[in-house]
């Protein structure tokens, strides 16, 4: 079975600093997709960044980047120059294109607080 684990229930960072959120997953497949979603206090879940497993290059979206280690089955999220608006729950998620319907498997979440 495919699983996703986020081992950091809570983290905090000072404004303008860098923070890394950890995620590990387990799968026997070679082709899959990984996502980081953000859920701010407003509760609206939005996509932060997406990585395709067959791509070697780590995905980057402005201040957000990932460290994708396929052999280690690790997918960490780095947030640079943290802003107060980054305060949110962050979820790591796995998707196999071989699973019907494109369903996501989520980790437990990491609650990030950015302090002024």
């Amino acid at each position: 079975a495919q699983t996703v684990t986020q081992s950091q229930p809570e983290m905090s960072v000072q404004e303008a600093e860098t923070v890394t959120l950890s995620c590990t997953y387990d799968t026997s497949e070679s082709n899959y997709y990984l996502f980081w979603y953000k859920q701010p206090p407003s509760r609206q879940m939005i996509l932060v960044i997406r990585q395709e497993a067959y791509k070697q290059q780590n995905a980057t979206e402005n201040r957000f980047s990932v460290n994708f280690q396929k052999a280690a089955k690790s997918f960490s999220l780095k947030i640079s120059d943290s802003q107060l608006g980054d305060t949110a729950m962050y979820f790591c998620a796995f998707m196999s294109p071989y699973n019907q319907g494109g369903k996501l498997i989520f980790g437990q979440g990491t609650e990030l607080s950015v302090k002024p």
């Binding site: 996703v4 509760r43 609206q44 996509l47 997406r50 494109g102 989520f106």
Partner: protein, 115 residues
């Protein structure tokens, strides 16, 4: 802009009541999902649908049913609400297939309290 809406942000129901949670998407997506979110457990899939009138059980379907009569609408039904169904419920939709991003688009969530 992609939009997924849910019928209620907050809902309070009594034990034993039949509860309907409605979700509508305007993106013509084939696939729709219902998740339950609980602290420390992340999001867990209750049911999903990959086409009109088609449904598949997720990881925690017990106590729930779903209905998809139209492509844009996916309903979650609690036949007889129980206190252990107090939770946040999130609806999502996506499109799959060649060239798809597989990004799921989420509604704002319904916080259901069963007393």
């Amino acid at each position: 802009d992609v939009k997924v809406t849910q019928s209620s942000r907050y809902l309070v129901k009594r034990t034993g009541e039949k509860v309907f949670l409605e979700c509508v998407q305007d993106m013509d997506h084939e696939n729709m999902f219902w998740y339950r979110q609980d602290p420390g457990l992340g999001l867990r899939l209750i049911y999903f649908s990959y086409d009109v009138k088609m449904k598949e059980k997720g990881d925690i379907p017990e106590g729930y049913s779903v209905s998809r009569e139209k492509k844009e609408r996916f309903s979650l039904i609690l036949e007889s609400a129980s206190t252990n169904q107090t939770s946040m419920y999130l609806c999502a939709s996506t499109v799959t297939g060649t060239g798809a991003s597989y990004e799921q688009y989420f509604g704002p969530g319904t916080r259901l309290t069963v007393t």
